[in-house]
């Protein structure tokens, strides 16, 4: 464990130097404990793969006492303290070249049929390590090894929101139109970021995500329900 100063208002608590479910679980457990105990002076927390950025008010607590208070919680930061994860089901249309525009290319690269790629991808459960980069964008793991694939040689400048992509051992869903280097296998009609909603972001760190394969007509009908504000995401 290392405490790395990040200016006068934040400290980065590094719990490991690898991307692993084990380290990330400790990061989220530490965040949960800090929030639950209402640690003096803590303003807000941002989990990432293997570290937690803790924003604090130096008028309320000094750097050393803050780090000492956090260090005391680290041994207790295990899966056991975390509440049960939410499971979020995201409908995803793979079978339309307009939406999953890299599916054929990825299948070719992986030497699999497109159907195998979709079955493998939709059959897995994903863990949201953290949210970052753009509002509501999940960094996820849980990809079947057989579909790990190097990122695109040339990142594209625009990826439509809702695009479900894979790259390396990771899966991500673009929350707003942005550049990106992932292979896009499909698209979900459920917005991950909706500026007009009272809670604009759908996913949270620690959520489990399952994809449900849908066809284009269901994609369009869910899209229409989303637009009419009558769609309720499936969260258990």
């Amino acid at each position: 464990m290392r405490f790395l100063p990040a200016g006068d208002l934040a400290v980065c608590v590094e719990l490991g130097e690898a991307i692993s479910v084990e380290v990330n679980t400790r990061v989220r457990a530490l965040e949960f404990l800090i929030q639950q105990k209402g640690l003096t002076g803590v303003v807000e927390t941002v989990p990432a793969y293997s570290s937690l950025l803790v924003y604090y008010d130096p008028r309320a607590i000094g750097y050393e006492p803050l780090c000492a208070g956090i260090a005391e919680l680290v041994p207790q930061a295990t899966t056991a303290v975390l509440p049960p994860p939410r499971v979020v089901e995201l409908p995803c249309c793979y079978d339309d070249s307009e939406l999953g525009f890299d599916l054929v290319g990825a299948a070719k690269r992986l030497e699999l049929s497109t159907d195998d790629v979709v079955r493998l991808h939709a059959g897995a459960e994903y863990l949201v390590y953290f949210i970052g980069f753009t509002p509501g964008l999940p960094y996820m793991t849980g990809m079947p090894e057989r579909i790990t694939i190097p990122r695109l040689d040339t990142p594209r400048t625009k990826t439509p929101p809702g695009s479900v992509g894979i790259g390396g051992i990771q899966c991500c869903i673009y929350s707003v139109e942005s550049p990106g280097g992932f292979w896009i296998l499909g698209r979900t009609p459920v917005p991950l970021y909706d500026p007009s909603a009272s809670e604009p972001t759908l996913l949270r760190p620690g959520d489990r995500v399952r994809f449900r394969r849908i066809d284009r007509s269901e994609y369009d009908s869910i899209g229409a329900a989303v637009a009419a504000r009558s769609y309720q995401p499936v969260i258990s």
Binding site: A6, G7, E44, V46, Y49, S50, G132, F133, T201
Partner: protein, 311 residues
Amino acid sequence: MIRILDAGPQTTVQDLGRTGQMRYGIPPSGPVDRFAFVLTNRLVGNPDTAAALECTLMGPRFEVTAAGAFAVTGADMPVTVNGQAAAGWSTIALKAGDVVKLGPARTGVRSYIGFAGGLDVPLVLGSRSTYLRGRIGGLQGRALRKGDELAVLASGAVPPRRVVRDAIPDYTVEPTVRAVLGPQADRFTDHGLRALFGGRYEVLPQSDRMGSRLRGPRIEHARGHDIISDGIALGSIQVPGDGQPIVLLVDRQSTGGYTKVATICSSDIWRVGQARPGQSLRFQAIPVDEAHRLLRESDRALEAAVREESA
């Protein structure tokens, strides 16, 4: 009510910013120059948290439909009321129908216009601040446009106040910006650190509320410029592969995968935000304790900055 006759290149509603949303990827937003922002609110008798306008390089022209008071702080944009010059850094009374104009900034980048009572736009996730890329807060999540109307919350009578001369910054001076090393200072060579703290860095025009892009002596990495993505604090000096720094500001991405050599002290962020493209700045490394001392000093300076006008 305030009716916008000309909006200026980028005028947005800001308050002190959003808290607790970075874990969902939503940055705090709020004023780039918190010092000038707080002062404009204090000049018109508002709490520091009231919403005001942030204008970039050039101000708006607007008409008020009711009597009230306003103040302008920050970048030196010439202020006129019905064509008559008015003073910045002081309370200015307005009557219904008055037309106010802020011209192009002579020094600095960002001006703040505070209105007695504060601007009345809906709270989004606890804040009135505009986050342009995320299209939330302020007026419909966007910069102001000609024809927009903004409501102002009710206020009591406002005694005239001014900011004392000593507290008004000179934005033409090349600033020395204090920074705390880390979180990834160990990823840079001694040569790279000497470059950062010995050189001069010029502000590039591609700078915005997300980050200030700088150009100067290359900040050399010891081993690779990529890290396992982590959270990005206000004022982080991020250094990608080209060795050129980017200072991350209020609309920054919440996490990122580039090394961050040092983090600018919160009490010096405004110096970066008010440096114009082409202006340069220097960096100085200080320990965390010293940064906290500077913050307390800056709080005290704010307390002492505003005086009641003696009639």
